[in-house]
Subunit: 220 residues, 4 copies
DNA sequence: CATGAATGAGAGTTCATTCAT
DNA sequence: CATGAATGAACTCTCATTCAT
């Protein structure tokens, strides 16, 4: 009971902080701003968080937690789906998770970009080496993939980077990205994991599907 | 004459500001920090810039200016090159320009991500709709390109996003991206503009790096 | 019955306050500190005392009360003692009373030194003009005393001052004073009320301490 | 020139701080109080002192410095004076020094009583073991002194304690002590270093001087 | 032009006090 | 009676900005 109330308060404050940080950034945001947004008195925040900095860390923790949840309890995938569908689905899940914490990321990312401590503590976990985030790109890629010739260090980073980049564009106010967001899984699958009709065939620019006929490199 | 002196002072201050902003971020950086780095008195900055905010705008202006220069006066391209080479070269130029302002971007990006004014005023110009930045990706792509089936709004954003994303990874401290940086043009060409017909050339990317090393900031 | 409970609570709180004040001083001590030490909730204090300031006054009141008690009900003095013994005994009683409230004094003195209200209201009563505190020095002094030629205003203040001073040294951390404390009555008698005629008795002071050790706070 | 201005400012601020601390105590005094008393802006203090605490240390340093000065450059003593005169003179000098920093002491003493750091760092130097402060009491004492029979640890502390105690009485608002202050050297000499007319004579309650006839212990 | 001492608004934070439970 | 979450005034300290030199 008591613990529940406390958790509710923490959430209430964190939500306010996310909004204010996303809007003004960590440094420009004042504790008073956050308190006002949370409809609390200035001092109340300090009953639940050690200080303003702690607020940032708590936001990151909450993000991690949510992601862990999402990863650990994946929605059931259709068992008989083919590889591409699986890949698209898993990609969509990641994107959805991402979208869930989009505001959080926007609130937190710019300030993380400077703080080496934060970067080390959180972002290696949250971003590039996140288990499963890069792998689909690589693991599912057969010999014919466009990624075959790439430096593996780069190919591992294609997806996260593309993602990060699109996110930044969004944050920069690009409305098109916003509109595209839902189509991203399919589109990225199209780009990086082209559907294959047949078994691996070294040659031939075969037509593989109605929509994608004539795609991909003819011979390689 | 007098104007030149003033410009030199402005540059001196801006350089200092870039360094300090890149390190601490706009809000955490103090005018005193910048003045000290520029070896000037605190008040002197105000003779050349209206206020601290104006410094940020000036940094952005300078970035734009440099980019405009780079775009308007491209280094001579080998006239007999084939389409792909052209594309790679033009891509490399862009990347070099980017690299020239890498510190600036790092100094400025996190704070720009929030300030709607800055975003509207500067970044739509600097980033996605930058003339020529996305086009190579699209324009040079033949029928066989991986990009053909994509939503054009997305395909236009592939390159900038990938770029932004890699940059963010760099800023997040990913050393691999750093190491890969010089090979990026070839690698991205490999990915988005695959060479026709030829057999796999796994060594191409790696072979490039030696010469491009040490070219750092050539364009700045 | 009910009043007793309330008194017990008051004492419980005052004891805690004395400890915390002695350690941190009035201003640096927080109500929470005191509540924690008293194993009560923060707000409970306010059921027994008007506010934090009132705590200080209550401590002083309790000190006065104790001293009044000690003065009004002196332990029986050996009826056949000579003048000097009487003087020494009475001095010892005072010192013991003092010692009983030593922590209180330490808790309260520094802050009393500034607050004119406190000084006027309490300390003139507690200290110099305290009935009987200075008198032994003066009244018991025969023609041969060292004090005879002094300005009476000073001679009245010799004992309290000496005392206060030694107390301050103690508070300043002088361990020697601490060790000497039990021997003080004899020693001060030696100084201010020299024994007549008899030969030097160098061992007197030291001899006393064993028994008086362990009497700590007997009077409190 | 510049350094002089800075020193003047420091003094100006320290003087204000002494007044405010003496009046309200360290903790109750606000930086704004001090700034106002010094007729400066709030922030100006921080150009000259690291923080409020530093102010306290600086006051102590200044006291030490003054005392060192007074000790190192003693006013010329009449070379042909007898021992007692010398003692009285030296005592007066100490008292004068003391009086010079009386307000400082009042400002600083109560807070020093709690801070172990301050005590260790400053007061052992300022108070009891101060070279020359206790010694006159002891060194000048012949075999006949009232101090002969005392525990040496105590006799060393008589003077400082008496002093401290009188000071505390003063701080407590005892106006009589205030009035007596100037007569203290003579009076204390009277008490602790009785004038001797003749050579050491073990017996006889001799009349020694008009004013002091019949003083001191008859036989010892 | 250049300086840097001075300013004072406003930041983060603490804590005496209240009051619904 | 007792609690302790909530309050918000007031604290210390920072720093962008000004201006006499």
């Amino acid at each position: 009971m008591r613990a529940q109330r406390a958790d509710a308060r923490r959430s209430q404050i964190l939500d306010a902080a996310v909004q204010v940080f996303a809007h003004k950034g960590f440094h420009a945001a004042t504790v008073r701003d956050i308190a006002k947004k949370a409809k609390l008195a200035d001092g109340t925040m300090y009953l639940y968080f050690k200080n303003k900095n702690d607020l940032l860390l708590a936001i990151l923790d909450r993000m991690r937690e949510r992601e862990r949840h999402a990863v650990e309890s994946p929605r059931g995938l259709t068992p008989d789906a083919n590889a591409r569908t699986l890949w698209v689905d898993s990609l969509r899940q990641r994107i959805d998770v991402f979208r869930g914490s989009l505001r959080e990321l926007q609130a937190v990312l710019p300030d993380i970009l400077r703080a080496p401590v934060l970067r080390r503590r959180y972002l290696q976990a949250v971003l590039p080496s996140r288990p499963g985030f890069a792998e689909p790109t690589v693991g599912a890629v057969g010999d014919e993939s466009a990624l075959r010739e790439l430096d593996p260090r780069l190919s591992q980073r294609i997806m996260p980077s593309l993602f990060m980049g699109l996110l930044v564009l969004r944050m920069l106010g690009d409305v098109e990205v916003d509109a595209l967001w839902d189509a991203l899984p399919e589109q990225l699958a199209e780009l990086l994991h082209p559907p294959r009709k047949a078994a691996p065939r070294p040659a031939a620019a075969a037509a593989r599907s109605p929509q994608t006929r004539g795609r991909r490199r003819a011979a390689s």
